[in-house]
């Protein structure tokens, strides 16, 4: 049923419908509204789950690790510094193949301290062995959580659902919140693969010497690659069951006869779509390739979508300092060596630390990349406040 509500509450209500057994989280802006609302649902008895108020994100992640290892459907949410503090556990959860779902309300990283949105935080754990799905709007954020539990439990891989902090978490807009019975029909109850239980004594978290470690990591890598099919399938099943497209690996907008393609992820895609329509009215053919699944990175899908496109600009809210665009390098790497010739793949870093990404600034970007390839640019940079000595 279509409800008008805040993004955080759309997520918390849907998560509750997924019937997690154990929820543990530590408050951090802009994730707080999600935990507060889940605490309320558990407190009021609307959700039969254990809600563990821990003393740090590190323990929050550890609690859900333990809970999942004991057979519980477990959920946590954090952002920014909290995610960095979890980092060690994040790697463990993946290595132990525990199907935990985590909501990352994407936010910038200190220093300087900044509570506003970008996607640097989830980028820091992109190699940890988690599936990372990016939501465009609150409807998709909500839908992705329903899919996430299903994908995670089918693949024994943890999933991070990324939604831009504030821009989505704090935005009020209509979201179709499904009925509990619809969710139950779509998401079967959790059948854990391997748990600690005295009836079938197992050891979880053994150490592996050089004879075994590499194989374990290789298997994990392959599991992520193979999860592409599951992500695609679950997204399709979801469309079947709920009558709307959500998630999947990639999405495109007016790509077919586009001369220029903008590649991006997350909420800025909406702004870009409006711009594309405006430019179309002005006679320009610009298209959009939107990455929903950043990990696993859908190399083939991206290649198939872009192989005829010669001018591409990657717009992203994170940067590999000293290197440049992170998504950009993944896009460049999606083309076989031979096919990179003559193809322009520009890289734009935008919206760091909550900097507004305006249509004007995007227009400037488009105008520039139509003229020349841009190795790396920071969108909307205020040159006046950059001191010479800092360059």
């Amino acid at each position: 049923m279509l409800k008008y509500l805040e993004g955080s509450h759309a997520v918390s209500q849907v998560v509750a419908m997924c019937r997690p057994n154990v929820i543990s989280a530590y408050p951090i802006t802009p994730q707080t509204h999600i935990v507060e609302d889940l605490a309320r649902l558990v407190g009021e008895g609307q959700l039969d789950a254990e809600f563990i108020n821990v003393e740090s994100e590190f323990s929050a992640a550890s609690v859900v690790l333990g809970a999942a290892a004991a057979g519980a459907r477990a959920y946590t949410t954090t952002t920014s510094q909290g995610l960095l503090l979890m980092n060690e556990v994040i790697y463990c959860i993946a290595g132990m193949r525990l199907p935990i779902v985590l909501t990352c309300a994407n936010r910038a990283i200190s220093a300087p301290l900044n509570i506003w949105n970008d996607q640097q935080d989830s980028m820091t754990v992109r190699d940890a062995g988690w599936i990372q799905l990016h939501a465009e709007d609150n409807q998709e954020a909500a839908d992705l959580h329903i899919q996430a539990f299903k994908i995670a439990e089918q693949t024994s891989l943890p999933i991070m659902v990324c939604m831009d902090g504030f821009i989505l978490t704090h935005a009020f807009e209509p979201v179709d919140i499904p009925e509990q019975k619809e969710v139950d029909a779509f998401l079967p109850s959790f059948k854990p693969q391997h748990i600690v239980d005295p009836r079938w004594p197992r050891a979880l978290g053994l150490y592996a010497d050089p004879r075994f470690y590499m194989e374990v990591r290789y298997i994990l890598h392959r599991a992520l690659e193979k999860s592409e099919n599951v992500i695609r399938q679950v997204s399709a099943d979801f469309a079947q069951a709920f009558g709307r497209e959500s998630g999947g690996l990639i999405k495109t907008y007016k790509l077919e006869d586009a001369d220029l393609v903008i590649v991006t992820m997350g909420s800025v895609a909406g702004t870009v779509k409006d711009l594309i329509d405006e430019l179309e009215r002005e006679g320009k053919n610009v298209g959009l390739l939107q990455i929903c699944s950043f990990r696993p990175f859908p190399k083939q899908e991206v290649y198939r979508a872009l192989k005829t496109k010669m001018n591409i600009v990657v717009l992203e809210k994170s940067v590999s300092l000293g290197r440049g665009g992170i998504l950009a390098s993944d896009i460049r790497w999606s083309f076989p060596r031979g096919e990179q010739k003559g193809r322009i793949i520009s890289s734009y870093i935008a919206g760091l630390g909550g900097r507004n990404i305006s249509t004007e600034s995007l227009r400037e970007m488009v105008a520039r990349v139509e003229k020349e390839p841009v190795e790396l640019a920071f969108l909307g940079l205020n040159q006046e406040i950059i001191a010479e000595r800092d360059l």
């Binding site: 254990e50 590190f58 550890s62 333990g66 290892a69 004991a70 057979g71 600690v196 050891a203 150490y207």
Partner: protein, 297 residues
Amino acid sequence: MMETTAEDLNRVEKKNLFASGHRACGGCGQALAARLVADAAGENTIACVATGCLEIFSSPYPDPSWRIPFLHSLFENVSAVASGVEAAYKALKKGPVNIIAQGGDGSTADIGFQSISGMFERGHNVLYVCYDNEAYMNTGVQRSSFTPYGAKTTTTPMGNRTRKKNLPILAADHGIPYVATATVDDYRDLQRKVKTALSILGPKYLHILAPCPLGWGHAGDLTVHICRLAKATGLFPVFEIVNGKVTNVLKIPNKKPVEEYLRLQGRYRHLFQKGEPSGMVAEIQEIANQNIERFNL
């Protein structure tokens, strides 16, 4: 929860739920303690173990020594992991089951201190067992906050200048229902304390002195004897704290001078240049005396 009668409590258990084949040094006090604890707890137990010497020597793939469910992830989070296991059992309405979080000094008193404090404060039904070998033995004998005054470690080459952190008291001050200390020589007492703890609902803390032949510099065959001296000198008081009240203190009618304990161990050898005790020995005796007075040993 186990139903426990006095007879159950005093029965000595030998089930080898922590089995042969581990890679501990000969005469390892921690390996001995881990078996005594596992056997006392019994089959219906989940062991959550922190990274450390115990974990390394007991849990290599594919031949770990554990015969009860075993869960390890990191160094500093075992209390939180155990909290999660307990939460899962509650939520799934499974159990009852004994959940025992265990680790060495570092994972208990130092890097894991926040985590254990959180577990105590939240009141999880978990028994935390600390195997105290008074330094970071896994990484090669570096100082921990359990390293006693005067002891030599690779990071306190001139002898440690700080006093041992008193975790049993800190644990009790969280308001948890049961805290106890024990040593590996008195296995009946140790196993009784494990069973007592498991019969109580809520967080419990058991602090076991587990000599490390390598780190303490004594022959492996002295492990049990050294524990007796640690008690007889007053350096390691054995007691229980039930609902905040110190009870069941192990009296030591014929007390021994600390020198007798120190001289047996390489980590204190520097205190006896040319056989003569240095001033530090007197200070260590003073620490023992304070224990004797404080706990009325």
